[in-house]
């Protein structure tokens, strides 16, 4: 607890310095009401509402094709492979674009303009997508998804950056939790409402077909317009806060250069790797899970869909609660470790037992929410503010890359070796993470041991040599331990104090 207080007082000092106190300098006798005072909690809540709805449109529209899968397949006369292209056109470019988006956010546009631009891309993309359906040109739909993708992921980066700007040192974990639950809400609402919208539109138009599909997608794009509106309001509020509080963007005068990436702190790289390792053990599994529950546990297809989606359903209400808990207790790293170990346990349950998968999947849902709200805010504490966008962009980029690659690998493993081997593979991914943590603390103590770090980085792509490298890393830990005998175990390493 001591470190928590220390942390709060430390960050508090810094923030109080930059927020309160200044309004008095602006002009005496003009106290703002709480809701208009940027340094007040009430005002931050207003900002939070806009911040949450900023991403709503893109999360809603991202899963439009999935919600209307049968309709899209029929109306556009596609096969499943072509249909999957709609998602491929979104995700593959984002392996690079997120990073670029984050960098542009830091370097060129600034957070406010950047957010508006990305929102415009999201809006435009969705409108092109809908137009493609209206005029019955599938290639135009693909173009639309591509444009949508340019905006979508970068908008998430902007959202994260906004969150840090406004809530660092305050309710940051809670805010990240809320954003996650908002994302889930967006896709859940989409899944449940789009079929209905399509039905109504088809009634109006008179028949199903590409016109009805296009019109339904046009209606969906209203959510994007709404998000664009949020971006504009958020920009205004942010500028106002800056004026009132005399908080200037990039106040230190530092500007990010692309070469700064290589000088990112080691802890940040470790956070990236942890992020990738963790998410690859969640999303590809959920993507492939339905058949697993039907075949291994004898579930009906409907039950299998339900148990498969429980992870997302749990994460919607659980992540703000867990975020709040992490805020109150601090120690993000401990919570992340806890989430990872729980995930490992859940995967092992699924792989090696016939226990009811509701247990394992619920556990997975909770640990996923916990990790999401504890891991992402950590970035804000290891990089300076002017690099935040780039860091988040980079994180999202390599997460996308990892997911894309591992999803292919997972498909291949499943096709050739089945679910048991696949699950063991996921367990191995998570295990490697556990070892990274052990390592993480160590690296933090000896930041100079870069060679050691590269051992860790290199072994990840070659999971085949997983065990060997693992031994190496853990051995290194022991060797290190022998060298630096003065290390007191009870004293928490710096990263643990986040």
């Amino acid at each position: 607890m001591a470190d928590l207080e220390e942390r709060q007082s430390l960050l508090g000092d810094e923030d109080e310095g930059s927020f309160t106190g200044r309004p008095t300098a602006k002009g005496p006798g003009k106290p703002l009401p709480a809701i208009c005072d940027p340094s007040h909690l009430l005002h931050r809540i207003v900002v939070l509402v806009f911040m949450c709805f900023l991403g709503f449109g893109s999360y809603f529209c991202y899963d439009n094709p999935a919600a209307l899968q049968t309709q899209v397949l029929q109306d556009m006369n596609l096969n499943t492979a072509q249909f999957m292209q709609l998602y491929a056109w979104y995700s593959w470019p984002n392996v690079v674009l997120c990073f670029l988006g984050g960098f542009l956010l830091d370097r060129v546009f600034g957070i406010r303009l950047g957010t508006i631009i990305f929102s415009l891309f999201v809006c435009g993309g969705q409108i092109i997508f809908a137009t493609g359906a209206l005029v019955n040109h599938f290639w135009l739909m693909e173009v639309g998804r591509f444009v949508f993708g340019i905006g979508g992921e970068s908008l998430a980066v902007a959202q994260n950056t906004y969150a840090v700007n406004w809530f660092k040192g305050k309710e940051l974990n809670l805010v990240f939790g809320l954003q996650l639950s908002m994302a889930r809400l967006g896709s859940t609402v989409n899944m449940n409402i789009m079929g209905w919208v399509y039905g109504k539109v088809a009634d109006l138009v008179g028949s199903t077909g590409h016109t009805a599909l296009g019109a339904a997608l046009m209606i969906a794009s209203v959510t994007c317009l709404f998000s664009l509106l949020c971006a504009l309001v958020l920009g205004l509020l942010d500028r106002r806060a800056e004026k009132i509080l005399h908080k200037e963007q990039g106040s230190t005068g530092d500007v990010i250069k692309l070469t700064d990436v290589k000088d990112f702190p080691v802890s940040l790289w470790l956070i990236f790797i942890i992020c990738v390792c963790y998410y690859v053990a969640i999303f590809p599994f959920i993507g492939l899970g339905q058949v697993f529950f039907i075949e291994k546990f004898g579930f009906s297809p409907a039950q299998a869909r339900a148990v498969n989606s429980i992870v997302y359903i749990i994460s919607a209400p659980a992540s703000p609660v867990l975020g709040f808990m992490v805020d109150k207790t601090g120690r993000n790293v401990v919570w992340v470790i806890f989430a990872v170990v729980t995930t490992l346990a859940a995967h092992m349950m699924l792989a090696f037992t016939f226990w009811n998968p509701w247990i394992a999947m619920s556990l997975l849902g909770i640990s996923y929410s916990l990790l999401a709200c504890a891991l992402w805010p950590m970035v804000a504490f290891v990089v300076p503010e002017h690099q935040l966008g780039t860091a988040y962009g980079f994180m999202q980029s390599i997460q996308n890359l990892g997911l894309a690659l591992i999803a292919m690998a997972a498909g291949a493993i499943l096709d050739n070796r089945g679910y048991l081997v696949l699950e063991v593979f996921f367990c191995a991914c998570i295990c490697s993470e556990c070892c990274l943590f052990v390592h993480c603390m160590q690296v933090d103590l000896h930041q100079t041991l870069m060679s050691e770090f590269f051992v860790t980085v290199c072994f990840f792509p070659i999971l085949v040599c997983f065990a060997v490298a693992l031994m190496a890393v853990v051995m290194l830990y022991f060797v290190d331990y022998l060298k630096g005998k003065s290390v007191d175990c009870s004293h928490e390493p710096p990263l643990l104090q986040l």
Binding site: K296, G418, K485
Partner: protein, 397 residues
């Protein structure tokens, strides 16, 4: 000290992997059989009404006769004898007429240990308009396989393929029989583990015109047995789906209770069919089966010439239906192909075990981190204790 421990852990790990893979490989070392095939034994040309294939599988001190026949519905008969000299005698005139018992004999009769037969009697089709995959009463008129036009057996040792077409529509139903000299798995899915006392049948429906766009199919199979009938289907669950991805169950239709040592014969399958010839995982479609029920043996004997010739007019018969596809799966119309594989054998069914690959991955992927974290934890604790004690004592020194 740490290194020593780690090395020990390492050795332990390798020992474990090594010994377990040794166990498995020694377990795989089993007896083998010599196969010889003969089409229509003792008949000079193509018999009227269908072929009879005899596969003789010669063991060290026993013989297994596989008889595969298309006189009527496709039938596979297994006869296990305790000598290496038993023979199959066919009275062709009577056999082709299909109305007398005893026209096919395995001699000497006293050497017969056990026999069982599987008849694929009917193919049923229903219109699954609500996509429930529950075959209701509104079935189409079934295809009686005894009325199919069966082509000549197509031999390619050690397997034989029999294809037939219904009179009414185009498309075909093929049954492929494979006998085995050694234990192993076939290369195509579902890669059932077979032993030398079993043979594999693959039933495939190819290009048969469905009578509705939402058609699903059921296959009716019947088992006839010399000594104890195949009365029950046991389900065996496994966490391992390495050889048949996404399938965690094996069903065994056996002659006695719970797979105890006195199982005489079995039919084994995994609940999966494939919707393409060169199947990928997404072409898999689950199967379900009804529980075995006693059938009218006379009808079976009429349907299959081989059954009447070997077992007589009214043998005890049990039958079950296998239905293909679950609610939500694509309908037959999507590929117009279905293939389902089963194993028919004598003695106990083969039992699956973890492959060395899975054990190695498990040991390396999961065992190693745990061992090391455990050792690391112990080591750190020990170190910490001794560390604090030395610092505590240092000032005195």
């Amino acid at each position: 000290m740490a290194a020593d421990r780690s090395r020990m852990g390492c050795c332990w790990l390798f020992l474990f992997v090594f010994s377990s893979s040794q166990c498995l490989s020694s377990g795989a070392d089993k007896s083998s059989r010599k196969l010889s095939m003969e089409l229509n034994p003792g008949y000079p040309s193509k018999p009227h009404g269908g072929d009879l294939l005899h596969i003789r599988a010669l063991g060290d001190n026993d013989t297994l006769h596989f008889l595969f026949c298309s006189q009527g519905a496709p039938t596979l008969l297994l006869v296990h004898t305790n000598t290496t000299t038993s023979t199959v005698k066919v009275d062709w005139d009577k056999f082709v007429e299909r109305n007398t018992t005893g026209s096919l004999k395995v001699e000497p009769e006293s050497s017969i240990l056990y026999s069982n037969a599987l008849v694929i009697t009917r193919l049923l089709e229903y219109n699954d308009i609500n996509d429930t995959a529950i075959p209701t009463s509104d079935l189409f008129p079934p295809y009686d396989l005894q009325n199919f036009l069966w082509a000549r057996l197509n031999l390619s040792a050690p397997s034989a393929q029999l294809c037939g077409t219904p009179n009414s529509t185009n498309g075909s139903l093929c049954v492929e029989l494979t006998a085995f000299e050694t234990e192993g798995r076939s290369s195509s899915w579902p890669r059932l583990l077979h032993n030398t006392d079993s043979s594999q049948l693959t039933v495939s429906i190819d290009g048969l015109s469905p009578r509705a766009s939402h058609s699903r199919f059921l296959l009716e199979v019947q088992a006839v047995s010399g000594a104890s009938s195949l009365r029950q289907v046991d389900e065996i669950q496994s966490i391992d789906d390495e050889f048949t991805p996404s399938i965690f169950k094996v069903y065994q239709w056996v002659s006695s209770v719970n797979g105890s040592s006195d199982v005489l014969g079995f039919v084994q399958w995994k609940p999966v069919a494939y919707r393409k010839t060169n199947a990928a995982l997404e072409d898999a479609t689950p199967c379900r089966h009804s529980s075995p029920e006693q059938q009218n043996g006379t009808v079976t004997a009429v349907a299959s010439g081989l059954i009447r010739a070997f077992y007589g007019e009214s043998p005890e018969t049990f039958g079950l239906n296998v239905s293909f596809g679950l609610s939500g799966d694509p309908f037959y119309n999507s590929t117009q192909f279905l293939s389902w594989t089963l194993l028919v054998g004598v003695g106990s069914p083969p039992v699956e075990s973890f492959s060395p690959l899975v054990i190695t991955i498990m040991a390396a992927g999961l065992g190693a981190p745990f061992v090391f974290l455990l050792l690391g934890g112990i080591f750190v604790c020990v170190r910490k204790k001794t560390g604090t004690s030395t610092t505590a004592y240092e000032p005195i020194n």
